[in-house]
Assembly symmetry: C3
Homo-oligomer: 286 residues x 3
């Protein structure tokens, strides 16, 4: 067992108020007294599988090889969603098989999927109603960190409940995507990756229609805009992001999660902007 | 000293914003550099002893033997509430003697109560006004985790400030209880334990009057109801709970903490519901 | 390397929702797998350097010698603010050189300042846009905890971006200060330290004009006032604080951050209050 298997992360929609997360941690420490636990987020909007997937997908790759990610966001709590564990690249993910893990992982890089059916590794029932996170999933993560092989924890399966991100639609004229996340600062993150735009864009400029405004490609960073001005840029994950320097783009530009984002390519950058086809656009900002 | 004495949990109403919790942790780590600390909750409503007691009572049993629980919710801060430490079953609790610990623990299972009067284990004063959590309670928890015997930390006492949960009232016709906690999801948890209802219920059905509605005993789980439908069930702590599948029961059924919950037993389950005495009830939901 | 260099604290305005903090922790653990991490606060108001400085300045001294404080609140994110590390007393601080650290530290006790220019200790770029907290600052903190000397991490400098707290103005008649922080309880903390008032005050009483009220010096503690009554006192950091027993002074007295606080000295305490010059003040409270 490598050292980093001593690390468990937790991602839930349990919040910080009710002690649910502490219960999971108590259960884990009762089984694996030396394991380290790191909170990824417990403020996922209740039942929001996609938000949990977005946050976990972004953070997980920064954790060491061998890390065990425990994920519990489950609108179907109590349902017959199978508790599963799986290996993805050099990490292990544990959670209900409700589609969340499909959103986080590329199916082809998943090397092993196990239904956590082996009751040896479940917690003894303390009430007549099971609480899968406490009684099955947290104990599984703890036993894995103790070095129990995933293959011992239940039956292997090939099935993973499928769920898919809506992908941006691209052609030579433009790209349509969506706002997939709004962060604490009100920055609006799209599902449009740099690798989608650049091959099509070539030397052309583009404009972006989003919320109540239209933005030019600026290529600049937050601070290079005047305070209060919107900025359109690729963020540190290379996703197109709409931000406002020292302000909330979500609030000021009236952008909500799921809002459409339309990229329209224009003239080549070497042409004078005066002659571009955008002249009549009368953008409301910038 | 057993290994698990290296574990301290923290439950406070200090919030996550002001750095008060970090100050306690810095003090603890300055005394016990290897101790592990787990947050149970710092989002207890300000001064809400009962909420803190409910959350801690539910989470504490899941922690290992030897765990030290540091609890600081104190409306009488600065008052002459005695800082105490006590042993309950195989764990230690440290906090002000303001009734909170009485709510968490069964008095008869408390094996030792000590007033933390031994200033050897206090923090050196850094200001003219003491901050008991920082200067007395956190250092006590840290020294306990270092293996100092509780009996060395002050004078033994038999007194524990008494505070009692309001208990449900039950007779052959029904049970009256209260909503004691509303969690992040809007699930409304009552103080009615399965063990109170079942001996009286026998084979009878029951109805539950709560908030703006009346609910039948369903026996089903969140997901078995249609989305938006209310569910009445015993939760994973065997307490009766009112929930709404993918919604907030508190909001939609107008239920607040402290609201009364009335259980009324009806006909035996084998009778047709059509003939039951509930026919004229015209429940507003379900 | 002393043991306590294994301890990193984190103070950011990243919130608990988006997983940004977890990304930093994953990066740190990938470099320094044994380091301990303690959150000071991630709920600093977005871009609020002064709030971050106030919270960190108050908590940092309670951490052990050798602690590494990682601080990321940066309105100019992406700007050419230099990432720096510095030694202050027996601790190390790492963050952008945007004035925040000047507010936390006394310049004369800073023994070494290093620009983190040595790319050996940066994270490999994972996107075209750098994220300094993830790619430079967190790795620096991790390498420092591994025992790398601060002097190896870049060029020494004497410059520290200066930023200063507004200091109270004092004369024989009184002291004018400001509310610098409002905590979770609504307690309003001023920038007026006990050491400013007492030498001038002598035996005189004083009154305090703040928000919509005027308060007498009470010298009492929260609990000694009736519930709902305002209290004026020196808090456990010896700063003058306006509080309301079991209530929010900020809300009830209409006090916001930055509000002026005027202390006016009156007669000597031995005189009867009846004869004092305050008789005609008609205070609205107390």
């Amino acid at each position: 067992m490598s050292h980093s298997q001593h690390l468990i992360t937790l991602t839930t929609d349990f919040g910080h108020k009710d002690g649910y997360v502490a219960t999971l941690k108590g259960v884990i420490l009762s089984i694996a007294s030396d394991v380290r636990m790191i909170d990824i987020s417990h403020n996922i909007a209740p039942h929001d599988i996609m938000e949990a997937a977005f946050v976990l997908k972004r953070a997980a790759p920064f954790f060491p090889s061998g890390t065990i990610h425990l994920v519990v966001v489950d609108p179907e709590v109590g349902d017959n969603r199978r508790p599963i564990g799986l290996k993805f690249k050099d990490q292990i993910f544990v959670g209900p098989d409700n589609g969340l893990l499909s959103l986080v992982l590329s199916r082809e890089a998943v090397s092993q999927i196990v239904q956590l059916t082996n009751k040896t590794f479940w917690r003894d029932r303390v009430s007549s109603r099971p609480f899968n996170a406490r009684d099955v999933l947290a104990p599984a993560a703890a036993h894995l960190s103790n070095g129990v092989a995933l293959s011992n924890m239940g039956e292997q399966t090939q099935e993973l409940h499928p769920m898919h991100w809506a992908l941006p639609i691209a052609d030579q004229q433009g790209v349509q995507g969506w706002i997939v996340h709004i962060d604490r600062f009100g920055n609006c993150i799209t599902n449009i990756h740099r690798s989608i735009i650049e091959p099509i864009q070539g030397d052309r400029v583009f404009k972006c229609y989003v919320g109540n405004t239209v933005l030019n490609e600026t290529g600049c960073d937050y601070h290079e805009a005047e305070a209060g001005d919107p900025v359109l840029m690729f963020n540190s994950d290379d996703l197109l992001e709409v931000a406002i320097n020292r302000g909330s783009a979500a609030t000021l530009l009236d952008i909500s999660k799921g809002a459409p984002v339309n990229i329209v390519f224009g003239e080549e950058k070497t042409l004078s902007f005066q002659n571009s086809f955008f002249d009549s656009d009368q953008p409301t900002q910038k």
